[in-house]
Symmetry: C2
Subunit: 549 residues, 2 copies
Amino acid sequence: MKLLIVGGVAGGASAAARARRLSEDAEIVVFERGPDVSFANCGLPYYIGGEIADRDKLLVTTPERLRSRFKLDVRTQSSVEAIDRAARKVRVRNLATGQVYEESFDKLILATGAAPFRPSIPGIDLPGVFTLRNLQDTDQIKSRVNSHVKQAVLLGGGFISLELAENLARLGISTTVVEKNDQILTPFDKEMTSPIVEAMANKGVTLLLSQSAESIEQSAEGLSVCLSSGQRLTAQLVIFGIGVRPENKLAVDAGLEVGPRGGIRVNDYLQTSDPDIYAVGDAIEVNDVISGEKTQVPLAGPANRQGRIAADNVFGRSMKYRGTQGTAILGFFDRTAAMTGASEKVLRRANRPFRKVYIHPAHHAGYYPGAEGMVLKLLFDPTTGQILGAQGTGGAGVDKRIDVLAVAIQAKMTVFDLEEMELAYAPQFGSAKDPINMLGFVAGGLLRGEHPQIDLETVLADSSADKPFLLDVRTAQEFANGHIPGAVNIPVDDLRSRLQELPQDRKIAVYCQVGQRGYIATRILVQKGFSAANIGGGYKTYKLFYPAK
Amino acid sequence: MKLLIVGGVAGGASAAARARRLSEDAEIVVFERGPDVSFANCGLPYYIGGEIADRDKLLVTTPERLRSRFKLDVRTQSSVEAIDRAARKVRVRNLATGQVYEESFDKLILATGAAPFRPSIPGIDLPGVFTLRNLQDTDQIKSRVNSHVKQAVLLGGGFISLELAENLARLGISTTVVEKNDQILTPFDKEMTSPIVEAMANKGVTLLLSQSAESIEQSAEGLSVCLSSGQRLTAQLVIFGIGVRPENKLAVDAGLEVGPRGGIRVNDYLQTSDPDIYAVGDAIEVNDVISGEKTQVPLAGPANRQGRIAADNVFGRSMKYRGTQGTAILGFFDRTAAMTGASEKVLRRANRPFRKVYIHPAHHAGYYPGAEGMVLKLLFDPTTGQILGAQGTGGAGVDKRIDVLAVAIQAKMTVFDLEEMELAYAPQFGSAKDPINMLGFVAGGLLRGEHPQIDLETVLADSSADKPFLLDVRTAQEFANGHIPGAVNIPVDDLRSRLQELPQDRKIAVYCQVGQRGYIATRILVQKGFSAANIGGGYKTYKLFYPAK
């Protein structure tokens, strides 16, 4: 067996190491265009910011280590330029010497990755304008940062841009993030990004939504970025993080199928349209396990997993890749945003029926010092209760809850299973009723009909004559501090004695601060013959949708 | 409907609140012997230590709040002394006035809890000798701590004792923990407690295993605790935390069935042997979902859940309690020990076949600063791979992994599902191959036969002539720093060139530091025709079993 692997970072390196463990005798060659293999891609922003002080930490392994430990023929600075499928060989260029040669294969794994998109706008190639993909980009950006950067402009409001924004802000660089959509972190639903937007403002990072860069010019102060709004931003550093494109040229030139967004098409075994050629990582399109649709997930976890699976299949083990459920996480200073499964946007686009709930729990028992808040959103099937997606934003403990929900999605569990989960509780770690259990109670109560709920958007969109009567059951003080326009205040503890103030012939939409008192009030009202429903997540959810009000 | 609830803390308070939400019109009376309802039981040690500064924080809710918000008839300092099942009424004593009266019921929920066991040894009733159950005990202990305690003796090495040990040590009190078994935290397997034992030593807490208190005497310096070994310990504070006994007297006197360990027997709907009487919380016996056996779990999470379910069933909702999987967690300074499902001990006792793996990962990417170590142990079915139990000890992130595994157990997932889990990865939160994935890889490799593994105990117990050849594949430096007696050192990177040094006719047991290099070495050896197996978890696991060596 002679196995060639094109690309030596996440998916390629995983495939190579796995291949050697499966076969001591196979001839395994890894071609990597750059000088490094298997570097810590996800650490690059933190090295730029100095959080990771030592560059060597970014080198997960070295070509030497792969040679000595895994007996791999690792060829860095080696670009594979063409695949001759009929002859079963590739053409390789040694970038150091310029030498071009051919190498034959029995099996080939493509792990070519994805390249950051660089728009064809004037000035894109000026010094000081970057994208961030590898250690060489990182070195250049860091070198510029260390010289004379007071202001930076980051194009794109995705994960990498926000990680860069944190790190540049830590260095005291005045940083502006420009995003062409009307929200950052587009895989999330917009309201769930509000706490991160708030954190950006608190940390002095400027955010411009619904704008994009139209040109970049040199100026006295460095660079001037001209936006679609006409606004001009001065910066000495500009980084584009507006998405990546699969590196599919090798595959396309060889006549392998690619999807509409350029991802190399593979079957469940990660075989391309040529059964002797596999492809893994950021270069391929994969199945979304929730929607069943094809998608692209340029993340390290799936890439590593796919590399392993491709090697298994090369050596006849018949392993399937399960697909992706889009689990992702961002740390931004002390804030976290994480998600798994489908977003509300995606479900709406697919016309898939769903219900949703929001809760605003603390990450551990409130009576123990240091409890941090979060918001969790759960999306589920309105008939079966199957969990379709989850998002969380807040402080500590968001990652744990999203991981738990990722497993629940994988296991095709329902909201009723969440009610029964027996999670580890001591006051430093959680609550006797963990946020996960609470999600189950709120969603289960909705589906069983014992906790009627109405979405905030439905209430606010209703301008009819018989639109719901809006009842705020918080204290007078809370009401005075801010409430949803049009609401009437009757504190929950007074409700039983003030029922005569409520309309008998109109739907009543109840809310409190986070949903708990609203639930109790709704139960009282329903049992007393009123048509009532609770606005899930209460005023805190309203503030996610309308943070400025 | 007239519902009486005996006990107003976790299970009782949850039942009462749920009952009111289900029925505005039911008459609901809660009898609580003490002055408080629904206090934060799990916070008591931290209030004693001052970590929780404000006593009011421990009052999760108050009788007044339950009355105003839930229209509950809450009667504190009210002891229910007898149940007349035929007449459907209870006899109640008002502990404040001495008045005795009867109260009728349609349904009754017993949430009487469990009492700390006080052994009948001489001196047990001396001033300064305590158990810790409620706020009154807490006040007394705190008052004594504040006056004149230099030394404390904690009997029992369970969760509460260790939490108390942390808090007393923080106060500068010289603290000794005495445990009658040969390990602390008996729900865990002994080797998994080693990191906590080490932390105790580091924090100056003395641990005496395989000893118990035989008597307590007054002495010039306060109290003298005489141990089974003859050793005497001087202390001004002695607290017994050697287990709890279900408060079943009411139930037993009323002729309700109890189990062999005293837990009130209930069916899946939490009904006692009298269908109009339910029981919840620490007072009952429950099903262990792994072993199917009856057990007792005096924890707040299950109690709350059961209270809710009992109320559901009282109001005709037919909800089942799923049983317990024994999820539990301890924080000890910056260390965590957590578990879910069955331990190895329990599986051995039940003659249930299993295999196990250990891994020693960091809680997040090693290249990002602040990564903390942990050990994870996974127990699984040797045929199907179904996960039977998991334990983790270490620093940050143990709670997350045990929660993920708790869900996997609930969903009846296998080790192969762990390989596929798509968890949230950024370098602050985890690794591209999360510790959970690694558990799956190691266990899956074992079951598929591609990663032969042998348990350390099996190797060490074998004193036969053809016992395994012990091969240490770490570096010479690591080997010199400490190794398993009898091992021969060939670093993994030299192995391919030194195969001739290995015996062809004996089993080779390979190990490295944590298992990864041992795995690679095992793969090399097996493919070269040797009979080799990896000692899972490597030298670090050896050090868990033999921490002193």
